[in-house]
């Protein structure tokens, strides 16, 4: 990031602090693609909508604390400090939220649908399911065994696998997708 660009952003923010709406729009318009890039680089596993949510969080935060910008100081370190903090904050909130989260499938509950009216809720071919689980990569297999078969908590499973809750969730999601594909092929 060049000093010129830093000065340019600094001047726009200085104008925005005095209530210049046009300068403020220009500043936020020019910052947004850069913020999106930073968020995408830091959170490669996120989908576009989640990245956009984070970008908007950062924009709201910049707006809320714009009085803390001092034109005597460089702009980019100020911006990056807020961005990094918001990313860390969202990661903490995600972990806290997922600790209390219970994942449920979207099951049909209407009476005319035949599926909720079945008395048994088991997969038709247990052997095929066992084989499919055994064929999964190790991380995904561990995730399915611990979370879906033994039903232990995400945190305990993450500790047992020596990984993070987030990584385990991703592994579970992938494992479920793989199993679905494998079992549909066999039918």
């Amino acid at each position: 990031m060049t000093d010129t660009l830093d000065d340019h952003f600094g001047q726009l923010m200085q104008a925005a602090q005095t209530g210049d709406g046009d300068a403020y729009i220009q500043l936020l318009d020019e910052l947004t693609p850069r913020l999106r890039q930073i968020v995408r680089n830091q959170r490669r596993f996120l989908e576009a909508n989640d990245i956009e949510d984070l970008v908007q969080d950062v924009l709201l935060s910049i707006h809320a604390v714009r009085a803390t910008y001092d034109p005597e100081r460089p702009f980019m370190p100020w911006l990056l400090a807020i961005t990094r903090n918001r990313l860390a904050d969202s990661a903490r909130r995600y972990v806290r939220g997922s600790a209390h989260e219970v994942h449920v499938e979207n099951l049909s509950v209407t009476f005319p649908d035949t599926r909720p009216n079945t008395t048994m809720d088991a997969y038709g071919d247990p052997d095929a399911l066992k084989q499919a689980i055994a064929a999964l990569p190790r991380m995904q297999r561990d995730a399915i065994e611990m979370l879906k078969l033994r039903e232990i908590s995400l945190k305990e499973a993450a500790d047992a696998c020596n990984t993070t809750v987030g990584a385990l969730k991703v592994a579970t999601h992938r494992a479920m997708a793989t199993l679905r594909k494998m079992l549909v092929k066999k039918r």
């Binding site: 210049d20 729009i25 956009e52 924009l59 935060s61 100081r73 400090a81 903090n85």
Partner: protein, 226 residues
């Protein structure tokens, strides 16, 4: 740019009224100190100062102790205000360490004297707990002023910021107690008064995320814009 983000930028720009730039941490600490000392003066008038205050003020150790406690409060306030400015130099956090060390050190000679006199077994630690609510009472307005001022900044490190703010308020509260209450057993002071200051600071730190968080900061800015 997605439509939502574009819309958000337009909304933010529409609500972008002029803002008063945050002053430097030391200037804000001076404002906070002025509020706090004014309140302390009211307390000292309401609850008369200790009868031996004039003679105590001629004792170098007493003066050093109170000066260091006051300096700890001021340094902690500067450090707390520095932590709410994004990208501000983090070395400011260490500022209270020197006056804090001098404060603890000023109690050292008295502690050693008592240790020689009473021995470990008979050290006088009995103490009425009334000094804790007095520290809280004297520190209450400085603490509230501190919270209001800190909430104007960015909640980057809520726990650390609140702990430093708590140290500032409790440090000043301790000075107030020492001016009001005639009590000079130094081991007891170390144990109860400084213990109370540290406990209040730790408590403030543990509560930091309740009053310093991005959610309330963003909401406050939205309310101001309305």
């Amino acid at each position: 740019m997605t439509r939502d983000t574009e819309q958000l930028i337009r909304q933010l720009a529409n609500s972008a009224h002029p803002v008063r730039r945050l002053a430097q941490p030391y200037v804000r600490a001076a404002i906070w100190l002025a509020i706090s000392v004014s309140y302390l003066a009211v307390i000292v008038v309401a609850i008369p100062a200790r009868h031996d205050l004039s003679s105590k003020l001629s004792e170098p150790l007493f003066v050093i102790e109170q000066t260091a406690a006051l300096a700890t409060g001021i340094a902690a306030a500067i450090a707390a205000f520095a932590t709410v400015i994004p990208a501000h130099n983090r070395k400011w956090i260490l500022l209270p360490l020197l006056p804090l060390a001098i404060w603890l050190g000023s109690l050292g000679p008295g502690c050693l004297q008592e240790l020689n006199h009473f021995g470990w077994q008979a050290l006088p630690l009995d103490h009425s707990l009334w000094c804790v609510p007095i520290i809280v009472l004297v520190g209450a307005v400085p603490a509230v002023a501190m919270v209001v001022m800190l909430r104007r900044g960015a909640p980057l490190t809520p726990q650390l910021t609140a702990a430093l703010g708590g140290l500032a308020a409790a440090g000043l509260g301790n000075v107030g107690v020492r001016i009001i209450h005639p009590e000079d057993v130094t081991v007891m002071l170390l144990f109860w008064h400084i213990g109370a200051v540290m406990a209040l600071s730790a408590f403030a730190g543990s509560m930091g995320h309740h009053f310093l968080n991005w959610g309330s900061t963003v909401r406050a800015s939205e309310n101001t814009a309305r």
